[in-house]
Symmetry: C2
Subunit: 235 residues, 2 copies
DNA sequence: TCGCCTGTGATTGGATACAACAGCTCGACT
DNA sequence: AGTCGAGCTGTTGTATCCAATCACAGGCGA
């Protein structure tokens, strides 16, 4: 079963130190332990991971390319703060790509994959039951990545990883209520459609799932804190 | 007219040295002056651009993320050699994304943009007339990027840049005939549809354009040289 | 008191020095 | 003669060092 993990140059399991840093910081951002705008000092991170600035810099540059970190020249790296316009772009792209991804996933369906999906649903359910919001956020994103892996389409997978990472930041910034009951049921529905190999249903469910997530956002343009302040003062 | 170039953090014109290296190498790859599999030594490139290995490494890492360079641990960077499977993925992704992009481009149409498109067509035509294959390859890719810029959708633009870069490598590797008359007429047709704001026609033309490009490829699996050798020896 | 200016500390940008690894040559042994 | 192995060479990986830049604080002048 572990034979499915490919050992390509991409290094998905990431045994090297740069990947450890990258994944550590990514996890912290995606689990909302690091808020948008937070300064990511090189020495600071380096000390945490016991690495020199060289490696930290490499990791931060990769994260910048993925869009979850902004690097400002001579100022440093900060957790990205996506604008509402960014948010709309991200979700539009997801609505375009993800239905196609489930389509491919259904072509690749196998008992082993169904098991993995089912197991993932169980994990999500469990995290939600014990009220672990951080794990819920992470697992929710990983569900989509799992489907993309299943599709076997490495380019879509790469794109989706970026979109998921950004989505997590966006949800943190623009969500109305903090009800973490975002999409476990939806995910179950999608898995069910995949199991039945019903492409049409899978596409539709994926699409409506994404629409619901976006509908729960409050994408008003001056949403950033400093702009809200300006609003108040002008009143 | 130059006022349209935005000076965002993204740095599209790229005055810094890393970008100079990245764009130099990219151009060399996309214009087929550097063939797939070519070793890109750090000192070598550094000497060419008068930069230290630090900057070269940064540039190479970015290119690796874009998928046109492979970095093998402790071995160095090489011009990527996309497999036929990669090629199919790239074109499938383009068929998914680019029709949507022209759609958005039509929403953003303006006299200034139409001028730019028209001017680009003229450049492509001229390059083709004087038989400048390298310029033709480059301009052909830039046409698609121009449409993506016009759409104003920065995520699609980023994705497309990657796809275009990979496409150029793929075309180099798998093209049947070297007739450079690939798509200038198609591009003109697409521009015409954009000018008429005919989304349906634009989508259809973009799609058939991509299909024709892919149809001209010979995507047989053991296409790499070393595999052909194995084939011969087993016969 | 407010605003500007400059000095100082901290942080990043880039280059260089050192360590680790891969590939190759040459030689010895079978 | 062929093969295996040790050492050598050149390249990459990582750490550290110096320079450049920014942010802030304190002082000076209006």
């Amino acid at each position: 079963m572990a034979a499915k993990t490919r050992q390509k140059a991409d290094a998905p399991d990431a045994s090297d130190r740069v990947s450890r840093i990258r994944e550590g910081v990514t996890a912290a951002i995606l689990e909302h332990r690091l808020l948008p705008g937070t300064k990511l000092g090189e020495d600071e991170i380096g000390e945490i991971y016991g690495a020199s600035r060289t490696l930290v810099r490499t990791a931060l540059q990769q994260l910048a390319h993925e869009g979850i970190v902004n690097i400002e020249k001579n100022r440093g790296a900060f957790v990205a703060r996506p604008t509402p316009a960014d948010a709309r772009e991200v979700f539009e792209a997801r609505r375009l790509i993800e239905p196609t991804i489930v389509d491919h996933a259904i072509d690749a369906v196998s008992p082993a994959w169904l098991d993995r999906l089912q197991q993932h649903l169980a994990e999500e359910h469990e995290a939600e039951l014990r009220g672990d919001a951080r794990a819920s956020v992470r697992l929710s994103g990983e569900f989509h990545k799992l489907v993309a892996e299943m599709s076997g389409h490495s380019i879509y997978l790469g794109f989706l990883k970026e979109l998921i990472a950004r989505s997590s930041l966006i949800i943190l910034l623009y969500r109305r209520h903090d009800t973490p009951a975002c999409g476990t049921d939806h995910h179950a529905g999608i898995v069910s459609a995949i199991r039945k190999r019903d492409k049409q249903a899978a596409r539709v469910q994926m699409l409506s799932h994404l629409n619901e997530i976006e509908a729960e956002l409050f994408l008003k343009d001056p949403a950033a804190d400093e702009l809200r302040l300006a609003d108040v003062l002008s009143a």
